[in-house]
């Protein structure tokens, strides 16, 4: 089973040279720590920055320079600032190559729910609806089950949706899964996790074809 950092590490293997990438809050943010050597990836922060760098050193925090999670950050050489309309303009126009975000539920047809639990939690969708409606390639980073042990990979989402038919791939603590027209296709299993366990913890249709390799971190 993978921990949060290992999920991020596995997702980082999907990055390609020259990619512009938007990383959501939580596990997705950790992906920045594992960008493979030898490739250049430019991180977009939807509040208005391309070329996001690491967190600042103590004493170098700048209140005017934050990421979409409101954390203090830095810029890298070649970075650019812009307003929020242009930021979502480049997202809507498909200029951002990859979006990585978290989810509460994903359904077998690629619907995603991530912003609201009726009667319990109302924080808002932020930029998630814009991102999932437009991104060419969306990877969801999530735990396979909720704290009660119930599957978060469902036939149909129960919670209010963030977007429809948009998730392309899921990297969970148990598996790497591709979302296809016929449901979840199991691509890889986490070290020490069996196909049976993944099957048991996936409520939606899970397609298992041939030998399923163990993930290579």
């Amino acid at each position: 089973m993978l921990d949060k950092n290992q999920i991020a590490q596995r997702i980082a293997k999907e990055l390609k040279d020259g990619y512009y990438v938007n990383l959501g809050i939580g596990i997705p943010t950790l992906v920045a720590n594992y960008i493979p050597d030898g490739i250049t990836v430019t991180l977009q922060s939807e509040n208005g920055l391309l070329g996001m760098g690491p967190f600042p050193l103590a004493g170098e925090e700048d209140p005017d320079l934050i990421n979409a999670g409101k954390q203090t950050i830095t810029t890298l050489p070649g970075s650019a600032f812009f307003d929020s309309a242009m930021s979502f303009g480049m997202i809507r126009a498909g200029k951002v190559d990859l979006t990585v975000l978290g989810a509460m539920e994903v359904s077998e047809n690629g619907d995603i729910a991530s912003w609201k639990i009726p009667g319990k939690m109302v924080k808002g969708m932020g930029g998630a609806m814009d991102l999932v409606a437009s991104a060419k390639n969306i990877i969801v980073a999530m735990m396979h089950t909720n704290p009660k042990g119930e599957s978060k990979l469902l036939k149909k989402c129960n919670l209010p949706l963030t977007g429809i038919k948009c998730v392309k791939k899921i990297v969970s603590n148990l598996a790497v899964i591709e979302v296809t027209e016929n449901g979840f296709r199991l691509l890889e299993r986490a070290p020490g996790v069996t196909v049976e366990e993944i099957q048991n913890k996936t409520e939606g249709n899970l397609i298992i074809e041939g030998e399923i390799p163990e993930m290579n971190l």
């Binding site: 509040n47 050193l57 409101k70 307003d83 929020s84 808002g124 814009d130």
Partner: protein
């Protein structure tokens, strides 16, 4: 025509009960701190606020919430604010949540003189309920109307007496968009100079959109999530 005001109190003098106001900023970054303080002091009520976030419990729009000065909040993300959640769940506060890109672009459309935009954000979700949609090139888009406000309150880094504005880093965010969407736009700046002293090549918001400008007396610039890295060995 003189656009320069002495301070926040004078610049917001005619914002009355029931006004619809936009406030620039993302989180606590680039918010019009001095205008918010003046609104708290003026005790105007029944405000409708359009802003990406609702501040935190004791700063930003949170200060207006605490004094129960808001009737309605239109935002994209309102986490990080317990008082907000309380007022929302008890029904004291009316809330409309809209996607961040839609919020930004609806403000932009207003300043560009376009009555509506089409966006795929929210298609198939509860955001789409009751809205017109149209298919372009096989993909569905929602029609969203341009936003206009009675007053737009924005924060810039530098401004001149003609109302031209320059923003700093990610404190730009919603500020230039909301600056275009106010019937009356009030800009507060850290540095106010005479017209001619800013480089015209570097202006983000042309002064035509700005009706009033003043130099903010104090900027706390509170950091919401202070995150640092350790020095590598």
């Amino acid at each position: 025509m003189n656009k320069v005001f002495k301070n926040a109190d004078e610049a917001i003098h005619d914002i009355g009960n029931g006004s619809i106001i936009m406030l620039g900023g993302f989180g606590l970054c680039g918010i019009p701190e001095n205008c918010i303080a003046a609104l708290v002091k003026k005790e105007v009520k029944e405000l409708t606020c359009i802003s990406n976030n609702a501040g935190v419990d004791d700063f930003g729009i949170g200060l207006l919430l605490k004094k129960k000065q808001l009737k309605k909040m239109i935002a994209s993300y309102v986490g990080e604010n317990a008082e907000f959640e309380r007022q929302l769940l008890t029904g004291e506060l009316e809330v409309e949540l809209i996607p961040q890109g839609t919020l930004a672009t609806r403000c932009m459309a207003s300043g560009y003189g376009m009555p509506a935009i089409f966006t795929p954000a929210g298609v198939g979700t509860e955001v789409a309920e009751g809205k017109e949609s149209r298919v372009f090139n096989g993909k569905e888009y929602l029609m969203e109307y341009a936003f206009e406000s009675d007053f737009a309150l924005v924060k810039a880094w530098k401004g001149d007496t003609a109302g031209n504005l320059i923003y700093k880093e990610t404190a730009r965010n919603f500020n230039p968009l909301m600056a275009m969407a106010g019937k009356i736009t009030i800009a507060e700046v850290e540095e106010l100079v005479e017209a001619g002293q800013l480089n015209p090549n570097e202006i983000h918001t042309p002064g035509i959109y700005v009706h009033r400008i003043f130099k903010g007396s104090v900027y706390e610039k509170r950091i919401e999530q202070r995150t640092i890295r350790q020095v590598a060995n």
